[in-house]
């Protein structure tokens, strides 16, 4: 008997999968000059994938579960899918000019990117270990290839290989942990694991399994000490791919962590809470200190994204010490942070792509005086970098506020200590974010800057659109935070809050 399939619930994924295949086929038949059609189809496909999401959001059927509860479309899944679609859309916009200028393998590029987006969509709905693992791999595998897309560049090769080798290791750790969970509980679905594992929180094997799973996802979200690949990979990969890695791929890792920890191991929060506490403190502190010494803007953003992952982990740590309501709030705090971070970090990367074209360099020093010959770009860079630093009224401030609220609300001395660590780190982070803005606006144009025509050349339309959209969200959500908190509140269903 064929399983009962709810096609509307699967429509976003189906749309993406069909688009990906169409892109691949188109690439076969299109003459070289018209390869840009693959980009157009990809952008359209991702846009269309959003339509069924809206239909699902307004329908009053409630949660749609299928395949024995392995694939669930609830409010949490919808919100995160929406985020993945929008982030994917922005990355596609950023990619158009970038990939075209490289002139090769456009079709494959978009195919792989679409597959990765598809993986993240499935991930948001997966509610058992196998579906989750396959989704996570589907997010990552295309990225191993895309990180090495600039084939002629040795650093891109290095980026790809490093990411691949370490990614495989992380997957192995993850799978190892999962196998223990299965062995101990005999269950694959999260609901089943939660029921079976309730009394096992103290068993060493169970603890080890949870910690291995955290380590595996720690790699995906690039938390210290699982972050080593990030700076090298970001620097070597094509910049839009780095943007995707730092936002969508990282968000996917967080979604996986959220789903697994909160819905499969709610009773073991005494185990994973402290473990995440350590990861959060380490990630914030070490990454921020290292970022202080970076001279390359992409590497700076890489360490910044590691530090931001630390901030996102803070509410997880709070979950260990609070009641059910607090659990829901910690959950919503992380989701809020992820949503806001996605827009400000994509914006920052988009600005870096545009800026690198104008200044001809990724060295921060070479960006001096950018504000004088490209004032709009300079102003937007200030918006994104100040938002990352958490300066009100930009949206990044709301993210930090929510994070502090979750940490302080838990009330335990450990969480207050973590909140203080986070506050100190916010100041350290400000130093390097503000330094970039200062260089752009207050330093003189360096002698090595390219000629006038390059510097004042207009930014590609699609890239400009990506920057504009991200900036609009970052500014508007700062003034009307309910635009974001409305969605993150809806995701609390998963934490039982």
């Amino acid at each position: 008997m064929a399983p009962d399939i709810d096609y509307l619930a699967l429509a976003p994924e189906i749309t993406l999968a069909v688009t990906a295949v169409v892109v691949l086929l188109l690439d076969l038949f299109l003459p070289r000059r018209q390869k840009y059609w693959t980009a157009i189809v990809a952008v359209l496909g991702v846009s269309f994938a959003a339509l069924p999401l809206i239909a699902l959001a307004v329908s009053d059927v409630g949660d749609r579960a299928m395949l024995g509860g392995s694939f669930v479309v609830d409010d949490f899944a919808l919100v995160l899918k929406g985020l993945f679609v929008i982030a994917g859309y922005l990355v596609l916009l950023m990619s158009v000019g970038y990939v075209e200028s490289d002139r090769y393998y456009q079709g494959e590029y978009y195919f792989l990117l679409l597959m990765s987006i598809l993986g993240s969509m499935v991930l948001a709905s997966s509610r058992d270990l196998i579906t989750l693992f396959i989704a996570v791999e589907l997010v990552s595998q295309p990225m191993y290839l895309l990180a090495g897309w600039r084939k002629g560049d040795l650093r891109s090769n290095e980026a790809s290989l490093k990411y691949f080798l370490l990614g495989v290791l992380a997957s192995a750790l993850l799978l190892y942990g999962m196998s223990f969970v299965y062995g101990l509980t005999g269950e694959l679905t999260f609901a089943g694991i939660a029921a079976e594992g309730a009394g096992k929180a103290g068993e060493p094997a169970f603890i080890m399994a949870i910690l291995f799973i955290i380590a595996g996802f720690g790699f995906k979200v690039s938390a210290v000490p699982f972050h080593f690949w990030a700076p090298d990979t970001y620097e070597g990969a094509p910049t839009p791919v780095a943007a995707y890695l730092s936002v969508s791929s990282k968000a996917a890792g967080f979604v996986a962590l959220l789903v697994v920890l909160y819905s499969a191991f709610p009773d073991a929060s005494g185990v994973w809470g402290p473990a995440v506490w350590i990861l959060a403190a380490l990630s914030m502190t070490l990454a921020n200190l290292t970022a202080l010494r970076q001279t390359n803007i992409v590497r700076l953003l890489a360490y910044s994204s590691v530090a931001q992952a630390g901030f996102m982990l803070v509410p997880f740590a709070a979950a260990a010490t609070t009641d059910a309501v607090g659990l829901g709030e910690a959950f919503a705090a992380t989701v809020t942070y992820i949503v806001i971070y996605a827009f400000m970090n994509l914006g920052a990367f988009a600005v870096v792509i545009a800026g690198a074209r104008k200044t001809g360099t990724g060295d921060i020093e070479g960006w001096g005086g950018l504000g004088s010959y490209a004032p709009a770009l300079g102003a937007l860079a200030a918006v994104f970098f100040f938002s990352l630093a958490g300066i009100p009224p930009l949206a990044g401030w709301i993210a930090k506020l929510v994070m502090f609220g979750a940490a302080m609300g838990a009330g335990s001395p450990w969480m207050i200590a973590l909140a203080v660590i986070a506050a100190i780190n916010a100041v350290i982070a400000l130093v390097y974010y503000a330094r970039v803005v200062k260089t752009i606006w207050m330093d003189p144009v360096p002698a090595t800057a390219p000629e006038e025509e390059v510097r004042t050349a207009s930014v590609a339309g699609s890239l400009g659109l990506a920057i504009g959209l991200s900036a609009a969200v970052v500014v508007v959500a700062g003034f009307f935070p309910s635009l974001v908190t409305f969605f993150s509140d809806a995701t609390k269903v998963l934490a039982g809050g």
């Binding site: 490093k162 750790l173 720690g218 699982f226 290292t290 300066i391 401030w397 203080v420």
Partner: protein, 676 residues
């Protein structure tokens, strides 16, 4: 339901809660315009400023004129009937907390609105003349409007979140303004310094806000203070820590020792910025915060007043002494501001709410005036250094006259504004029995009078030592100075013990009241001592700097043994911060972390790698050689091959990174199994 209906409903509700005060009517309900207008003006200047004849300056001045007039109306309404009005609009919900935007009209805030509106209006007008021909006047006026708007946002805040937003906005705008002439690297670094020092202090404010809000379940200041006054909830347990943490935030903005180091450097900004920053915005924010939260400090967290009093007292004397050795006229005034802020904070710490705010009020007039005067002089002689000035009394009569009025007011000479407010603070020290603080306060009064006398004599008397011909500034600059001079004379007459104490009543109208001692009449011994100290200071300045015109400047280099080098190096605080905190973090600590990342972890991993290799050799020689299956050999071979290629790509670190990942996971597990 639209916003307007909300307003009306809330007004009705407020009227029920607070029967003893008026609700301020339509003006209080529309007071949100005070905050919105400057921000609208900011946007307008950014987009249209360049096309206007004055590059956007007219929009800025117009907005401030509106703020001033509106604030004056509110102020008058408050003097007539006493207004307590508060309204909040929910913007978002974060967990159980509402994030709100709103505005407060009560005695304290309407006093601040008036000070900000009046000073900003006058200083913006002055800036029209001062900034003429500047490299980027549009940018200047935009940032200046943002500065004033953020301060109004802060003052109007009915909740701690909005207060923090305004607080950060003030910090950001000050960074832009201090570094305004960023072509000079020193200026942009001064801006950064102000930003960072404030940011460090803000940690205290943010954590303190959460500490107080969480037991109450609300960020509303009125809810927190209601809980404090009614002693409800768990607030008592955290009151001290909350109050102390908020004070750390206040120390940053109000430049209290040892976080005052940013303020003198902030003089790098254009003089109108310094004037506004020192008179009405930014530095008064810390004192305002203490005033806004005063019911907390008055009773429940009275122990937190002890550090407030101590820090304020230290600040007033050490900054006063620093002002004596400065050659840069703006730095004299900057340290003077730090010192006067010390008086205000110490007054708050001593339990004298009204006296502290009264000094804020009078200080706004005469310090604003002195900065504008200094700016007028600098504009004319093109130097900040008093060694380039002298003899300016004749060519700049208006500047001279108003500057002297400001000097006498600051020195606390009867019957000018500073006399009344400083006397009230000293009297409060005496009443509360803080004799040591009283002595330091009196010595501070002497020092204040001395350095101001020195400044006047070095700048306006003797012979001119600069270049070119000094000239009086245009009317657009002198008119604001004349108005402020008038206020510096009469500004203190609103609170004369035993005669007329209007000011006490104005700032006393607020929703949460607290007990405070108000003297029936002057404390005559204190008046006598304070006035004597001020006169002695002026006389000492006269003897040292006036008598012999020719050697005036030479006398400036007189050295106080031991103390002088200490003062010249600003108590070595900057060196301490740079060498003790900033450099280590930027240099060794960051480098250490960097280094640990790439070497120590690598070392551990290398060791692990070594063990693995040894193990592999053992496996190879002892197991493999004895003929275990060939497939294993193949796997080993291909791994080796891959590793070789990796090394060719100079990615030898991959194994180490991988090792770190594994070790991280294993350490976590071991940690939990052993300690968990």
């Amino acid at each position: 339901m639209n916003t307007f209906t909300n307003l009306v409903l809330a007004a009705a509700e407020e009227a029920e809660h607070s029967i003893e005060y008026g609700d301020g009517g339509i003006f209080a309900e529309w007071a949100w315009l005070l905050v919105i207008v400057p921000f609208v003006a900011f946007v307008a200047i950014v987009f249209f400023g360049k096309r206007l004849p004055r590059q956007g300056g007219e929009i800025a001045v117009g907005a401030m004129a509106f703020v001033f007039i509106y604030a004056a109306i509110l102020f008058v309404i408050n003097t007539v009937e006493g207004v307590v009005f508060e309204h909040s609009v929910e913007v978002a919900r974060i967990g159980s907390f509402a994030i709100e935007w709103g505005w407060v009209v009560d005695g304290l805030s309407s006093m601040m609105y008036l000070v900000i509106g009046l000073l900003a209006f006058l200083i913006f007008t002055y800036a029209l003349g001062y900034m003429e021909g500047d490299v980027r006047p549009t940018w200047f006026f935009a940032a200046f409007t943002l500065f004033a708007g953020s301060m109004l946002l802060l003052v109007s805040a009915p909740n701690l979140i909005q207060l923090i937003v305004g607080w950060e906005g003030v910090g950001l705008a000050s960074y832009l303004l201090i570094g305004h002439w960023w072509e000079d690297k020193e200026n942009s670094s001064a801006g950064m310094k102000a930003f960072y020092v404030n940011k460090v202090a803000d940690i205290g404010l943010v954590i303190g806000a959460f500490v107080l809000a969480i037991p109450v379940g609300s960020f509303r200041i009125s809810d927190v203070l209601d809980a404090v006054v009614g002693n409800s909830g768990d607030i008592e347990a955290v009151a001290f820590w909350g109050a102390a943490l908020l004070f750390i935030g206040a120390m940053g903005k109000s430049a209290q020792f040892p976080l005052h180091v940013w303020l003198p450097d902030a003089m790098a900004g254009p003089t109108p910025v310094s004037a506004l920053m020192h008179a009405a915005t930014m530095v008064t924010a810390g004192v305002y915060l203490l005033g806004r939260m005063y019911p907390l400090y008055a009773e429940m967290a009275a122990e937190a007043r002890v550090p407030v009093l101590i820090i304020g007292t230290i600040t007033l004397i050490i900054a006063g002494l620093l002002a004596v050795v400065q050659d840069d006229i703006k730095k004299v005034l900057a340290y003077s501001t730090v010192s006067q802020l010390g008086y205000m904070v110490a007054a708050m710490g001593a339990g004298a709410y009204t006296a502290g705010l009264f000094h804020l009020w009078t200080h706004a007039f005469f310090k604003g005036l002195l900065f504008l005067g200094a700016g007028s002089v600098i504009h004319s002689v093109h130097s900040n250094n008093m060694s380039d000035m002298g003899g300016l009394r004749k060519p700049m009569p208006v500047t001279f006259g108003t500057f002297v009025a400001g000097t006498l007011a600051l020195a606390g000479i009867f019957p000018l504004a500073g006399f009344f407010s400083k006397d009230e603070i000293l009297a409060a020290f005496n009443y509360e029995g803080y004799t040591a603080v009283l002595v330091i306060g009196v010595v501070g009064a002497f020092v204040t009078a001395f350095y101001m006398a020195r400044t006047v004599f070095l700048t306006f008397y003797g012979t001119y030592k600069g270049h070119g011909r000094p000239h009086e500034s245009p009317r657009v600059m002198t008119m604001p100075m004349v108005v402020l001079a008038g206020l510096a004379v009469v500004g203190g007459w609103v609170n004369i013990p035993g005669l007329y104490t209007g000011f006490t009543d104005w700032v006393g109208t607020r929703a949460q009241t607290f007990a405070e001692h108000h003297a029936e009449s002057f404390d005559w011994p204190v008046v006598a001592i304070g006035l004597t100290a001020a006169f002695l200071g002026i006389v000492a300045g006269y003897f040292l700097y006036y008598r012999d015109e020719e050697t005036q400047q030479a006398r400036d280099s007189f050295r106080i043994p031991l103390l002088w080098p200490l003062l010249e190096h600003k108590y070595y605080l900057d060196d301490l911060y740079m060498n003790g905190i900033v450099t280590p973090i930027k240099g060794p600590i960051a480098r250490f972390v960097d280094w640990t990342n790439s070497y120590v972890l690598d070392g551990i991993v290398n060791a692990a790698g070594f063990v693995t290799r040894a193990l592999a050799r053992f496996v190879y020689q002892d197991l493999d050689q004895r003929g275990i299956d060939l497939a294993l050999n193949g796997v080993a071979y291909s791994t080796d091959d891959l590793a070789g290629r990796t090394r060719l790509l100079q990615t030898g670190k991959v194994q180490q990174y991988a090792g770190a990942t594994v070790i991280g996971a294993v350490l976590l597990v071991i940690g939990f199994v052993v300690f968990g």
